[in-house]
């Protein structure tokens, strides 16, 4: 797991622990729905940006197909997420987790930008495996349990199924690139 994901895991882990602690003292969760929506949206945007980078740099047919899938699916979730927050009258709220996610992703894109050919393909797909593992853990362990709105929770659950499918696809692809 690279630094980006350690940062994310720590950020979400702290949130989860804080949430558990909060339940003992007050009813308020550590992350509110506006923050959860922001984190989920940010996570999707990060993967779309990574996919766009892969589509610019990779010539591998399978890697490109995977990147197209990431861009298409994450965009679909984010369209739904934006429609939902608009419907609920919620403004997505920036928060330390979203910020650390964005910073980590920017660092990762910079690192990948220096690679070419097979080295890029392998690094991109390995990164996708790690990224989806971390986001899936965050979704199932923190974001979904903390979400209060039923529709947001449902969208996150659909997102989790999708990202699990992506993780599996990325793992197969990583194996085939070895």
């Amino acid at each position: 797991m690279n630094k980006t994901f350690v940062t994310l895991a720590l950020a979400l882990g702290v949130g989860f622990i804080a949430s558990a602690h909060a339940r003992q003292t007050t009813a308020a969760p550590a992350l509110n729905d506006a923050q959860i929506a922001h984190i989920a949206y940010t996570a999707g945007e990060i993967d779309i940006a990574a996919a766009k980078q892969a589509l610019k740099k990779s010539r591998n047919k399978d890697v490109r197909a995977f990147a197209e899938e990431m861009a298409r699916d994450h965009a679909a979730v984010n369209v739904q997420a934006l429609a939902l927050v608009k419907k609920l009258g919620v403004t997505p709220e920036n928060n330390p987790t979203s910020e650390s996610l964005s910073k980590g992703a920017a660092d990762e894109r910079k690192k990948l930008a220096a690679l070419k050919g097979r080295a890029f393909d392998t690094a991109y797909v390995d990164n996708e495996v790690a990224y989806h593992q971390t986001v899936n853990s965050a979704l199932s362990g923190t974001l979904i349990p903390s979400a209060r709105n039923v529709e947001l929770k449902s969208l996150l659950e659909t997102g989790l199924k999708l990202f699990q499918s992506h993780q599996m696809h990325a793992e197969h692809l990583a194996q085939s690139l070895k």
């Binding site: 899938e69 298409r72 679909a76 739904q80 659909t158 199924k161 699990q164 499918s165 599996m168 696809h169």
Partner: protein, 116 residues
């Protein structure tokens, strides 16, 4: 005597209707007549809905994508490959046999059609 027996036996067999080629040919289509039906399979939340029981060759299968993602129904043997945008639906005709299929966009999504 022999001349008389031939038409009598022939007549009896025709009445029974089991041993003459003509009788067999007319009985067979009646036994396999099946009104073609339309079966709906809904795709939602990253999975194919339940496969319909009693699928027969010639039936129509209507694939309905209610998910927010694009999916495909792609036969592993290459028999069919349909793409379904979110909200789209499409019909295929059932062909006898067992066909495994998957979504080429999400390979973890799989199913098997059993058609009699």
């Amino acid at each position: 005597m022999r001349r008389m027996m031939v038409p009598i036996i022939g007549g009896l067999l025709a009445v029974i209707g089991v041993s003459t080629p003509i009788a067999a040919a007319t009985a067979k289509p009646q036994a396999t007549v099946h009104a073609h039906r339309v079966h709906v399979i809904v795709i939602d939340k990253m999975q194919y809905g339940p496969m319909p029981a009693g699928l027969h060759a010639g039936d129509s299968i209507e694939w309905v994508n209610r998910d927010i993602f694009e999916h495909s129904v792609t036969a592993r043997d290459g028999r069919f490959d349909i793409d379904l945008k979110p909200g789209a639906s499409m019909r295929t005709t059932a062909v006898a046999g067992t066909t495994a299929f998957f979504c080429k966009f999400h390979p973890g999504m799989t199913g098997t059609l059993v058609v009699k």
